[in-house]
Symmetry: C2
Subunit: 388 residues, 2 copies
C-alpha cells in the first residue's frame, strides 16, 4: 500500500518544479480528491497576520467541501496585500478550470519567505504541469510530499490502514506546529472513510490538539500554518467517531514525531511530560513553558541535566505550582524531590539523542506531554543564514 | 564622587573572596547603611519557585527597614529546602551580630547554580571578612559590584547626584531582569535622601517597571531576582516624589543598559519600540513578543532585516493587531507599510552593533520599548557549557 496522501482510495497527487525556489528543487504540489464525496475540514494558524492562502482557504472551508489543494514552497505569499490574495485566488481558479470544478472547492497553501509576491505566472504554469501529472502511485505521493519541503531534510508521510476497509494517509512539512510554530507547518490528510464535514472537523481538532499542537520547537507561530483533511468516501465505510479520531490522532502524532526528528538544528529530541498538575490546561502550560525555555534547551544541547533551570521554568509558568511538591526526573534519574536536590546531576545520562523530562507537580491529576528539541549551534546557524 | 552603592552619604561596602566560586574570584559582598535612617523597599522575582534568600528578604522587607544586605555569587541557594533557608537566616544573623543590629534588619541575596547547598561555614566566614573591610571608598563600592558578578564580564555601577544635595547610587549583576530574566538579576540601590518606606516602594516599583522590567534577554525568569533600595537620610533632604522617581528611573535604566550590553553572547543590542498600540499594556506585550522571538533574534544575529519574522511575531502576540495597518521600520528603513513590503530588506543597514526595530500599529496611542539582544552562537555556547 502506498504511503501518504494517495494511500486512501479516491486520491491522486503530483509534485513538480514550478521555478519558485531558487535552488531549482520541486516546489508545487497538487492533491486531488476524485470522490465520490468531497467532505473536508481544516485547522489554520491563530496568527492575526494571516497569509493570503490562509485567508482564501478559510473561506473555502466554510463550505465543508474540498476537491483539491494546491501547495507551494518557495514563497509564503504573506504580507502581500490584495495582489497576494489575487494570486491565491487565481491559483485556485486555474486548478478548478483544469479539474472541472469551482474555485471555491480548491484550497491553497504556501510556505517560504514572508513579504514577497509569488510570481503568479510560474505558479499557474506549475498548477497546469501538476494537473497533467496526477497519479495515485507511491511515487506521486512522494513527489507531492517532497514539493512542499523547505528546510526539511526528508519528506514526511504516514498512513493508517483499517481492517474495516478504510484508511487515512497524510503528509506534512515544517519543523514546527500549528500554534506556535517554528517554520510554517503545512499538512494534508486524506481518508476514504465516509464522514460528514462536522464529524471530520471534530476529529481533526481533537487529533491536532494532542499532536501538532503538542510539538513546540521555539514558540514562534507562523502566518501560514494549515492542516487540511479531505474525505473521498471511496471505501463506502463509515467508522465510529472514536475509532476514526483515534486513527487520525495516531497519524498526526506519527507526522509530528517526524517533524520533531527533522527540526532545524536538532541534536536532541526532548519530551517534557507533566503529571500531577491541577488540570490538563495547567499541565500543557507548564510543559510548554519548560519546552520553550532557552536555558533548558541550551543545557540539554550541552548534555547537562540542569534540573534547576527546569524548576525555575516550572516556577514562572502561568499555572498552579507548589514548589515544595515538585519532583523532576530526567531520563529515569530522580534529580529533584519535593523541590530539593535528590541526587547528582551526573546521575542522568543525556548522552543519547532522546531526553525525557518528567515533572510531577503533586497537586492534581492533570497530565500532558510536549515534544521539543534542543537549542543548538545548528539552530542559530540555519536561522541566521536563511535566506541569505 | 564615588560610583555605585557608596556614592550616597551614609553607606559602606565591601567585596571579598569567601571561597564559594571554584574560580577563586571574589564572591561575597556586604552593603551597610549607617543611617541615620534605615528606610527600605524591595522588588522580588514573581517566580513561584523562590530561592531561600528571596523568602528571607521578603520577610525582612515587610518592616520597611534595612540596615544591611549580604550578597553572594557562586550559588543560588534555591531548591535547597529548610537547610537552605537556615543558611540564609544564619547569614543575616552573622551580619547582624557584627553590625550590632537584628537579623530581621539584614537582607540576603544569592546567585549561581540552583539546587546545591551553600557551604554555610564559608559564607559566615566571608561575612566576617567583609564586615572587617567595610569602607565608603570607590574601591569598596567596586569590590562589592565585582563580588556579585557571575557570567558578567564587567562590574556595573551608576550614580545620580542631585543639585539639592542628595544622590542615588546603584550596582547590578546579571544579563537579565526582574521578570523575566536570563540569569539572576540582583541590584542594590542606595540613597541619602529622606524618604518613608511607602514613598521608596512607590518610586522603586515605578522605576523598575520601565527599566529592568523592559529588558528581556530570553524570556526566562530567575528564582532569585531581587532589587533593593536603601535610604540613609544622611543628606537631610526630602526630594519631591516625582523628582526622586525620575532620578531613580534614570539610574535603573543606566544599569539596565549596562546589563543589555553585557548580556551572554550578545553581538547586537536591539531596541524594539512599539507605537500606536491600543494601550501601553498592548505595546509592552507586542514589543516583548518580538524581543523574545528566536527567529527574529537569529535573523538579527545574521544582520538580516527579516521584517516578515517581525510581522509574524506581532501577529501571534496576545494584543490587538490590525495586519493591514502594520508598519515595520528597521534602523530608519521602512520595510513594511500597511502590512505589505515597502522596500528591499537590504535597505536596512544592520552591520553595526545597535539595531532599532520600530513597529507602528496604527490603532491607538500606546507606546513601549523593550531592550533585548540577538541569539548568537555565543549564547548557545555559554549556556550549554555553564557550568560544565
Amino acid at each position: 500500500m502506498s504511503q501518504g496522501v494517495v494511500a486512501p482510495k479516491g486520491f491522486r497527487a503530483a509534485g513538480v518544479i514550478a521555478g519558485l525556489k531558487t535552488s531549482g528543487a520541486s516546489d508545487l504540489a497538487l492533491v486531488v480528491n476524485d470522490g465520490p464525496r468531497f467532505d473536508a475540514a481544516g485547522v489554520f494558524t491563530r496568527n492575526k497576520v494571516k497569509a493570503a492562502p490562509v485567508l482564501w482557504s478559510q473561506q473555502v472551508l466554510t463550505t465543508g467541501q474540498l476537491r483539491a489543494v494546491v501547495l507551494n514552497s518557495g514563497g509564503a505569499n504573506a504580507c502581500t496585500g490584495p495582489e497576494g490574495f489575487q494570486t491565491a485566488h487565481a491559483t485556485a481558479e486555474k486548478a478548478a478550470e483544469l479539474l472541472g470544478c469551482g474555485a471555491i472547492e480548491v484550497a491553497v497553501c504556501s510556505t517560504g519567505l514572508i513579504g514577497r509576491q509569488l510570481p503568479r505566472d510560474l505558479v499557474l504554469a506549475g498548477v497546469e504541469k501538476a494537473a497533467a501529472g496526477l497519479a495515485d502511485s507511491a511515487a506521486a505521493g512522494l513527489a507531492a510530499a517532497t514539493a512542499i519541503m523547505t528546510t526539511d531534510t526528508v519528506a514526511k508521510q504516514a498512513v493508517h490502514s483499517d481492517q474495516a476497509g478504510w484508511s487515512i494517509g497524510g503528509t506534512t512539512k515544517g519543523a514546527g506546529m500549528i500554534a506556535p510554530s517554528m517554520a510554517t507547518m503545512l499538512s494534508v490528510l486524506t481518508t476514504d472513510a465516509v464522514l460528514e464535514p462536522a464529524a471530520l472537523d471534530a476529529a481533526l481538532r481533537a487529533a491536532v490538539r494532542v499532536s501538532f499542537d503538542r510539538l513546540d520547537v521555539d514558540g514562534s507561530m507562523s502566518t501560514n500554518d494549515t492542516v487540511l483533511l479531505l474525505a473521498s468516501g471511496a471505501s463506502g465505510v463509515t467508522p465510529a467517531a472514536e475509532e476514526f479520531t483515534a486513527a487520525l490522532t495516531a497519524v498526526c502524532q506519527d507526522l509530528a514525531r517526524q517533524m520533531q526528528a527533522d527540526a532545524e538544528g536538532v541534536t536532541k529530541r526532548i519530551t517534557v511530560r507533566v503529571t500531577g498538575a491541577a488540570d490538563e490546561d495547567d499541565a500543557v502550560t507548564i510543559a510548554r513553558t519548560v519546552a520553550r525555555d532557552s536555558l533548558v534547551k541550551t543545557a540539554i544541547f550541552g548534555s547537562d541535566a540542569n534540573w534547576g533551570r527546569i524548576a525555575a521554568a516550572v516556577g514562572y509558568s502561568d499555572a498552579e505550582v507548589d514548589p515544595d511538591r515538585l519532583d523532576v526526573t530526567i531520563n529515569d534519574a530522580l534529580l529533584c524531590k519535593g523541590g530539593v536536590a535528590a541526587g547528582g546531576r551526573t546521575d542522568a545520562d543525556l548522552s543519547g539523542k532522546d531526553v525525557l523530562v518528567e515533572i510531577e507537580l503533586g497537586i492534581g491529576t492533570g497530565t500532558a506531554e510536549i515534544r521539543t528539541t534542543d537549542l543548538s549551534h545548528g539552530y542559530v546557524e540555519e536561522n541566521s543564514a536563511y535566506p541569505t
